[in-house]
Symmetry: C4
């Protein structure tokens, strides 16, 4: 599940695809970003310059140390909120990819205290209960909503804890997993879970009350295993990258004349 065997050019290419997928699927809009740990140097991470993910190219990918300083000090403008990435990589050696999601469906949950829990098989990997980080809690005197330094980034990383996702009040979410493809999968799953949970909360109200049936802890664990296997991540990655306009490497053509294999 880690990308640690990749070369740097392979990693950069996959990171560009991830940017385009997240833009195309609506996980990010003009804002939001996705990074991965450097495949050869775990003390660095790869992240685009300040640009909307949906239009990022290989030329835009920069390197940062874990304090979020650009390795090339004379490089182009970088994201103000890159500290989200650096702080999570520092706190979580198991994490190799981080997404800062701007999915619109998430925000209403963060400003109403509605618990975010998985109710759908494909969303199992968001974890049993996704915490909400409110910058006001640790920084009551700050003016900003944004994670623009190590202090705010470390606070966010503490709320994330050992989990794979953390909601951010009035802002979005941060997703962190062991691989780039898993981070994309969890980011998309969290977005759809929010859409479905919104509807489920309202149907519950319309039916006179009761409780949404979330996935059980055992269902979460076992379904996450399937999602992170070849029938999950790889299938979704192929599909989403095709939708976003990428063409796969040419496969060796199977020497089969029949339409359906027997």
């Amino acid at each position: 599940m880690t990308d640690s065997k990749q070369t740097l050019p392979q990693a950069v290419r996959d990171l560009v695809i991830a940017n385009r997928i997240l833009g195309h699927e609506g996980v990010v809009d003009a804002f939001g970003h996705v990074s991965m740990r450097h495949p050869e140097r775990p003390d660095r991470y790869l992240l685009s310059r300040s640009r909307s993910p949906g239009v990022v190219t290989e030329d835009d990918i920069l390197q940062f140390d874990l304090d979020s300083n650009p390795v090339d000090a004379d490089g182009p403008l970088s994201y103000a909120e890159r500290f989200i990435h650096g702080c999570v990589y520092k706190a979580r050696p198991d994490v190799n990819s981080v997404c800062h999601s701007h999915a619109h469906a998430l925000v209403p949950f963060t400003v109403t205290g509605t618990p975010m829990r998985p109710l759908w098989a494909m969303s199992a990997a968001i974890g049993d209960a996704v915490p909400i980080w409110d910058i006001r809690d640790d920084f009551p005197d700050r003016d900003t909503l944004l994670v623009v330094d190590d202090a705010t980034g470390a606070s966010l990383a503490r709320t994330l804890g050992h989990g794979s996702a953390c909601m951010m009040r009035g802002h979005g979410a941060t997703i962190a997993t062991a691989s780039l493809k898993a981070t994309v999968l969890v980011s998309v799953g969290l977005m759809y879970n929010a859409d479905m949970l919104f509807r489920a909360e309202l149907l519950t109200l319309a039916r006179g009350g009761g409780q949404v049936t979330y996935l059980s802890e055992r269902e979460i664990r076992s379904t996450t295993e399937v999602l992170f296997g070849p029938r999950g991540i790889d299938r979704a990655w192929e599909y989403w990258s095709l939708r976003a306009g990428f063409r796969p490497e040419p496969e060796p053509r199977r020497a089969v004349g029949f339409l359906a294999r027997e």
Copy 2:
């Protein structure tokens, strides 16, 4: 309404179109699948290898026996949940096509116990009341949500009963009818019925209560007949396949010079 007069290549081509239609209309996403019974061998069914339906090609279509073993044991990876298909074909000789829907609009109904009944003419063929299958009922000690063997598949087929659709808790639905095109029509109709019923339930709440007017049993029966006739299935199939990017076989050109026929 059966496809039993088709040759295998025709069947495979239609199955690919069905895959693309369901992907394009949002009935399936990265996950979900659609199958048809082999047109010449009712003890087999045709289903894609493990691939997102929206990008399936003719090369991807595999054959399975009704125990869901691939006929070509050395073939590519197949869907873990292919047992949905095999078990329904075994239990239902009248069924010639099965869809495992991942339509997002369905899921909120499955986790709130909201009854799914048709309220719209185009959704009549979903049947008077669509049952909900919860894997926990028959398998309280299972960890998984997924239908990955004959036991879980047979349980699902029992809940489906004689109907054309069955909701799956936290997961989606299974649709089963006598033909590929009817399965596509019912799958799309179920998805839109869910969207409309969500809104109708909330409007009822906002208006201070009362009851959604569903289709009557007689309306369901008579409208389903029209939907499964040439003005229903064939028109919709042509439209959806054009939307999904397919071009029809060239028709014999009508020798008419006038714009409007008199």
Copy 3:
């Protein structure tokens, strides 16, 4: 506002554009249709053969008499519900174009008895209160939801009355105005009004009750006049036809070198 000065080929071309617009904007899906009165023979109307509006071509346009018999008895299959059109043209000499809308946003209103009234400037032309026709009222012993003969068509036309729109329970709506372009405008306006009114009803509920502010009768009258003028219909028609893929006739190029005119 009438199209009565058009030649038949011009009328057919505009009717094809209207079909494509309504398909592209979501007023119709695989089902639904739009017609116009024959520009030279008011005892006939023009309507596509049984085909989804989004893919209709000039070759598909047929002629019918007001009893909805095809003028060419040997022509292709026609819509089962063409009687909607014939009956409205018979009852309403002022009407020159009819749309049978399948817009999904409409249906929840028809099955919950929620009043449909305009709340948005662009929807003014739907009229002060849109009636709901329920086929069960006049035909308690009918099995069908569909308007498949003169009796059901006449019943629908009676509920429509002098108005420009009529909701149909579990089905959609019928829109009827003096011109093709006005019918398209009202059909789109009705669809968006339904979306907005759904949200407004729920916001009212969330705010603890109260009443949605609809347009007043005077606002309806005066705004409809603007909508049916050159800054309404013509602008919208150009925009929607460009979105649906049509290119306008080449205009005489204005001989202006400057970017902005002074």
Copy 4:
């Protein structure tokens, strides 16, 4: 933040891009418009002729004086509601760009009296509380909803006050800021805030009451500063213009061979 250093052709080109962006993102539909103050003559503004913003070209841009008379009296038909623009420019010397939004998500708020306040970082610049202008308040005897003269325009400008946005009952909104790009950013942010606030109001209801957490005044102020800086406006403008089909001016190619900069 002002565009006052632009030449007229540059201004016209940017205004066309803004028209296309707003059309593509859904801030305007067939109706609605966007203007900017003339870069060299503050007593004039630039606005398209009466045409849907999504299809406006450079040839369509006209000049008006602040009484909303076209400078070229023999020019093509102009928007009936151009007085929105003229009246805001007269009342607000600090304003250099005005958008009349038709975003559908806004309208339900205007007819239910639901307060519009920012809850999302990207929407901070709409201001602490967006007022609602109801034409009936100042003009109880008017028939129209539309701003078609200086009297109604001045009334709207009074309700806008010193703010950057003003809702319009049954109609949409007016957005006014110091620059074209800021007006686009606030217009998009207001639209998404409405979508999110609709959901947040309903989640609050479903959770049994309570209060949506809006941005604080300090968060609004500090986040607006970031949004109006190079990591906000410029990034969003590049992204939205690419989405709308525009290609940027060719940049000087960076002489870098490596995929990731070190």
